[in-house]
């Protein structure tokens, strides 16, 4: 245990402290340790893992709805595309940039950018549709310099370079691949309601009726392991298993 006591300052001590305070002010007025990033003209370099605006790649999307389900702010809503699939839309009037969606997106269909400084003139525009999330957007930029904060063991160093930073990462870091597929663990309990078939976005579940018997099948090659059928199955007889 460490006890902190503060002694009274004597006159000499006080004078010293006054002098020290004035000294700091005088020194800083000559050689200041300025830490300012002059934003509209300069831009701070953000790391590649920065959580900014979100881009979307429909080719990679497996329609698992997980981004919408995990969004704590309900900012992501799924919209039906012309191809009958549901793709995410983001309402930046709600988005909290936690990127739980990106961390949930198994196939990296969602990816981050370094865009974070945007002003909207009204709230309706803040809803970003799927169509708008595919190509990198353009933002108003006035910066000519890139500022990087570097911390060495002595002090904060501010490195300024005359370059315009790209706000988009070329590569999307892949996630660990954990192949899972849906399987029926208790076919006898199936009521044959087709809910799994209907909810499946990849068409991996098929059914056919012959001779008073319905044949259901999950095509493990097509199954993306999204887990929607498992979630929706009213009898809870589907399960995700490791491939």
């Amino acid at each position: 245990m460490k006890k902190v006591t503060v002694q009274d300052q004597g006159l000499v001590e006080k004078t010293k402290c006054h002098a020290a305070a004035i000294g700091v002010a005088m020194k800083e007025s000559v050689y200041p340790l300025t830490a300012t990033v002059q934003y509209p003209r300069q831009r701070k370099k953000m790391p590649d893992n920065f959580r900014g605006y979100i881009l979307f790649d429909p080719d990679k999307c497996i329609n698992c709805w997980e981004c919408a389900f995990i969004c704590p702010a309900n900012a992501i809503r799924m919209k039906e595309a012309p191809n009958k699939k549901y793709y995410p839309t983001i309402d930046y009037g709600k988005c909290i940039f936690c990127h739980f969606c990106i961390d949930s997106c198994t196939d990296s269909a969602l990816r981050t950018t370094k865009i974070h400084d945007v002003a909207y003139k009204d709230m309706d525009e803040m809803v970003t549709l799927t169509e708008e999330m595919i190509e990198p957007p353009e933002i108003v930029r006035e910066d000519t310099k890139l500022v990087e904060y570097l911390i060495d063991d002595k002090d904060l160093q501010i490195k300024k370079t005359r370059e315009v930073d790209s706000l988009f990462m070329d590569e999307v870091p892949p996630s660990v691949e954990i192949p899972v597929v849906s399987q029926c663990i208790d076919g006898a309990s199936c009521i044959g309601c087709h809910v799994c078939e209907y909810v499946c976005g990849s068409g991996a579940i098929s059914s056919s009726i012959a001779n008073g018997v319905m044949n259901m099948a999950i095509d493990t090659d097509n199954c993306t392991g999204c887990g929607l059928c498992v979630k929706e199955c009213t009898m809870q007889i589907l399960k995700l298993v490791r491939k």
Partner: protein, 369 residues
Amino acid sequence: MQEVINELLETMMSNQVSVPVIQPVIDMAAQVPMVGLGISFILWTPIFALLICPGLSTLGIFLLFFPWIERKLCGRIQWRVGPREIVPWLGGLIQLLADTLRFLFQEVIVHKDAHRPYFLQFAFLSFAAALLPLLFINAGAVIAIASPYGVQLLLALVCLFPLFILGLGWASNSRFAFIGSVREAFMYFAYEIPFIIAVLAMVILFGTSNPMLIPDKWGIILNPIAAFTFFVGAAMATSRMPFEIPEADQEVAAGPHVEYSGIAFGLIYVMCYEKAYILSALMVVLFLGGGGGPYIPGLTVHLGDLMGIVWFLLKVIIVMTTMFVLRTIYPRYRLDQGLTIGWGAMIAISLVALAWSIVFVFLQQGGVL
């Protein structure tokens, strides 16, 4: 009629501000009938003092640019930049112009509980009243009204300020303004006595209270204690840190100013700079050798009276800057601590300063010094 004019002209011509370097230009202009008259009128020392320096024009320029200096310097000390983007290549020099114009065009709100006539009158009156002491300040050899009691008059006028601030607070009819005004009144009594004693000490030391006759000696060397008292007193009078008690932003929300908006606030806002300007000028006159400065070959001769003005202004800027930079160094005292300092330490120190002066004068007369 003609005689009167001639006499007036003569008086004017005999008391012109002399600037040798532009004398040929003035002489040339004097040939043109009306222009010549106008130029000599402006160069007439009292008018020059009133309108140009240390009077209105200088004050105006100060008000426009001094806050910029202050903000830039404070910004620098605080590891940032200060106003800049308005004209990046000039470092945002005209920032205050934008602020002033903005206040000018901003709505002036008089809320319904305020005493409307006084609410507005005090704002303008206080601005006007703050100009009066300028008449008795000399910038080098330039003064509007040279009076044997100049310093006393100046003090008397400076002491009017708090009354207007009280008025502002009263007319605002707001709780914070009320507390701010009361604090101002308390502080007023606390700093006024040591402040006056410090000035008196200098008057005794110099043996005159006519600013024009105060020698170019550096009072700060002759009586540093008085200088210190004066400086602290001035900081208290202008509500500078650590004595920014009446206007404490975080406590009483700028106190008397809390209800003012638009240009009315603009006037009050600049009043504090006016006050600081006047007190700094007085400090320069009493302690920093007024318009005196080292002889610079070439310049001193050519600039004539202007050289005094330049030195004077330079010193004023330094004193004012010091006064304003205090806010980056100190937090704020509490009201009772401010009062204790005023009534206790400050009076004691000021009395020491007075004694110092008296001893000094005795010693001087005794021929010891």
